[in-house]
């Protein structure tokens, strides 16, 4: 399963062009390739699988109608999808609403080939990290998920978030430092409690 779509611009553009001409195969291929990363992005921001599924579904149905209309994505399909996903999340939760983090046990690290002990520790860390991430301001969460989680480049991230690249550079710097700070607090809490 592909969870990160590494930028393969020519292939993506080719797929997009075919889809815009009405190729159903291309549209299905887009779905197979892009659903997992988009869902994961949404799920990191929305703490409810059913809600995340609804939002992801809306994103892809919107893509179909956009491909037929005049406002079809011209390039960077990936960026378009993340931007629509982000807008949908904002529509559901409001721009500033923090997404509460509860069901931590659902989260597992990506790598599954370690010793059980290592995995356990990693799970603990992942829970802390997930909780810490949820405490960040929404735009800080977004920038970290897009840049680290999805490996989107600076320009793409700037386009998705509607800011310039210098703003993104500063935002990701602030965000990661806030995350570190919260991680320290969470760690202290778990040690004392």
């Amino acid at each position: 399963m592909i969870i990160i779509v590494l930028p393969d611009i020519p292939a993506e553009d080719r797929l997009l062009a075919q889809a815009r001409k009405g190729s159903q195969d291309a549209m299905m291929e887009i779905y197979e390739n892009y659903f997992p990363p988009i869902y994961n992005f949404i799920r990191l921001r929305v703490n409810d699988p059913a809600q995340a599924e609804d939002i992801a579904s809306d994103v892809f149905v919107k893509l179909v109608s956009a491909l037929r209309g005049r406002n079809a994505p011209q390039h960077s399909l990936r960026g378009w999808l993340f931007r629509v996903a982000r807008n949908e999340i904002h529509d559901h939760y409001g721009k500033d609403k923090q997404v509460t983090v509860e069901a931590l046990e659902e989260w597992i690290p990506a790598s599954g080939d370690d010793e059980p002990e290592v995995q356990f520790i990693r799970n603990m860390n992942m829970e802390r990290a997930r909780r810490a991430l949820g405490m960040l301001a929404p735009d800080q969460q977004e920038v970290l998920i897009l840049r680290f989680g999805q490996s989107l480049n600076l320009q793409e991230t700037a386009d998705i978030m509607g800011r310039n690249i210098n703003a993104i550079k500063a935002l990701q710097f602030r965000a990661v430092n806030t995350l570190r700070q919260i991680l320290g607090e969470v760690r202290a809490e778990t040690q004392h409690g």
Partner: protein, 466 residues
């Protein structure tokens, strides 16, 4: 500026991590910032590894696929051109005269999505200006329905809008203007709609001969039923009081009826009775009747038995005209005022009373694109009538893709053979399913299609419960 350099170094390191390099690789590239960068990159790397479980993603992807596929398959070739509405009225009028005079017929058979369809609609719009009669508008409405019907037969995808009456609700398939409309639990506008309602359907046809609704808008609530609760009270003396009640149901959960009944007694006594009934489990009927010589009657009948005979609260007061009025009114009405009206259903398809049952030796068949009932019946050696009656169908044209029918096994397919063969078939299916979920690609085998269908059915169930 050191700050700017650190920002840039951090940014570059994110790109390097994204490209597969390690944190150490990056720190080696920026030794002067290593101390500051390391904790930041470690924190960032945690985010990089955050994933929800692959199973959850896969489940979500499977579930959403059906909806996406539906949207993709409904892909119309091109949007209709935007029509000039008011701006180019002069041009529109000119066009109308030209077209009406000569080649308007050219466009008349065009369908949504055709080049001439815009001309057709424009002609009609202008036509409506000259002839805004209900008959003409009705005719236009029927044309929309006929167009959709043609699109469905041709299996041509297009965006459509039409109006009509809901005549049947069968799960999430609504029959509107005699066309099967596929809805889903989240199709907007279905709340409060019911059989008999006039609605506008906005949706699209697909290449698989399916009509899918995007939105259903209520235009007109279902007409009130004619005064069904006809209370017939027979009094033993002479006056046979026949009161007919008009019901004014309210659309709440437990509808209350407030029938107003007027009764005429042959003996010049005119009774006006007001009845109110609550058709829950035990409907109580309260009748207040006034005779010309002021007589007020109050009856509280139980639902099944005859109403209690105490029809004489104040009737004794002044029965000036009829000396035997008291006797008359104490007489028990011979017939129970039965109120047969069922509460207006909110969404439940109460109209479908016929339940298809599987005759022995018949099999369940799921309708494919291109199937016709007559074709299926012929293929399986039964008459169209048989196929319709077993499956509770009232219109031979009304079958839709995905619908389950009971039919005898197909005549021209080879018989399944003995039991061993059957078990082999079962094994094949099992393997297909496993292959589909285990392989990297989400697969296109029949197993997955079945999963989609199952999910669809589950969703329907949920929708009904709501």
């Amino acid at each position: 500026m050191a700050d700017r350099d650190l920002l840039n170094a951090f940014n570059d390191c994110i790109d390097r991590l994204g490209a597969g390099q390690s944190i150490e690789d990056c720190l080696r590239a920026y030794p002067q910032f290593a101390a500051a960068l390391r904790p930041m990159l470690e924190a960032g790397a945690l985010v990089q590894r955050m994933r929800t479980t692959p199973t959850e993603i896969q489940v979500a992807q499977e579930r959403v696929r059906a909806r996406y596929q539906q949207a993709v398959r409904a892909n119309p070739r091109r949007y209709r051109p935007v029509l000039p509405r008011f701006a180019n009225l002069a041009a529109a009028l000119l066009l109308f005269f030209v077209i009406a005079g000569s080649g308007g017929a050219l466009s008349q058979s065009s369908l949504p999505g055709d080049a001439l369809y815009g001309v057709k609609r424009l002609t009609e719009q202008v036509g409506a200006i000259f002839d805004p009669s209900p008959a003409y508008l009705k005719d236009l409405e029927q044309r929309r329905v006929d167009e959709v019907s043609s699109l469905l037969e041709l299996g041509r995808p297009a965006d459509i809008v039409f109006q009509g009456e809901v005549t049947r609700v069968d799960g999430d398939v609504w029959v509107i203007a005699m066309l099967p409309v596929q809805t889903s639990a989240d199709t907007p506008g279905q709340e409060g709609l019911s059989i008999g309602a006039r609605v506008e359907v906005e949706g699209y046809t697909t290449s698989t001969n399916t009509l899918i609704a995007r939105r259903i808008t209520l235009l007109e609530a279902p007409p009130l039923p004619p005064a069904t609760p006809t209370n017939t009270m027979t009094m033993t003396l002479s006056p046979t009081v026949t009161s007919s009640a008009t019901a004014t149901p309210t659309a709440t959960a437990s509808p209350t009826l407030t029938p107003t009944a007027s009764a005429t007694a042959t003996n010049t006594a005119t009774l006006t009775s007001t009845a109110s009934a609550t058709p829950t489990n035990t409907p109580t009927l309260t009748l207040t009747a006034s005779a010309t010589p002021t007589a007020t009657l109050t009856a509280t009948p139980s639902p099944t038995v005859t109403p209690t005979s105490s029809l004489t609260p104040t009737a004794t007061a002044t029965a000036s005209r009829t000396p035997t009025m008291t006797r008359t009114l104490t007489a028990t009405p011979s017939r129970t005022p039965t109120i047969t009206r069922t509460p207006r259903p909110t969404l439940s398809p109460t109209a479908t009373t016929c339940v298809p049952t599987q005759p022995s030796g018949w099999v369940r068949y799921r309708v494919q694109a291109g199937d016709t009932l007559s074709g299926l019946a012929a293929n399986r050696g039964i008459t169209l009538q048989q196929a319709m009656s077993v499956n509770c169908l009232t219109d031979a044209r009304l079958i839709f893709v995905g619908q389950d029918l009971f039919l005898p096994p197909a005549v021209n397919t080879p018989p399944p053979g003995d039991g061993n063969d059957n078990s082999a078939v079962g094994d094949d299916n099992g393997n297909d399913n496993q292959g589909g979920s285990g392989s990297s690609g989400p697969g296109d085998g029949s197993g997955n299609d079945n999963n989609d269908d199952d999910n669809g059915n589950d969703d329907n169930g949920g929708g009904d419960d709501d």
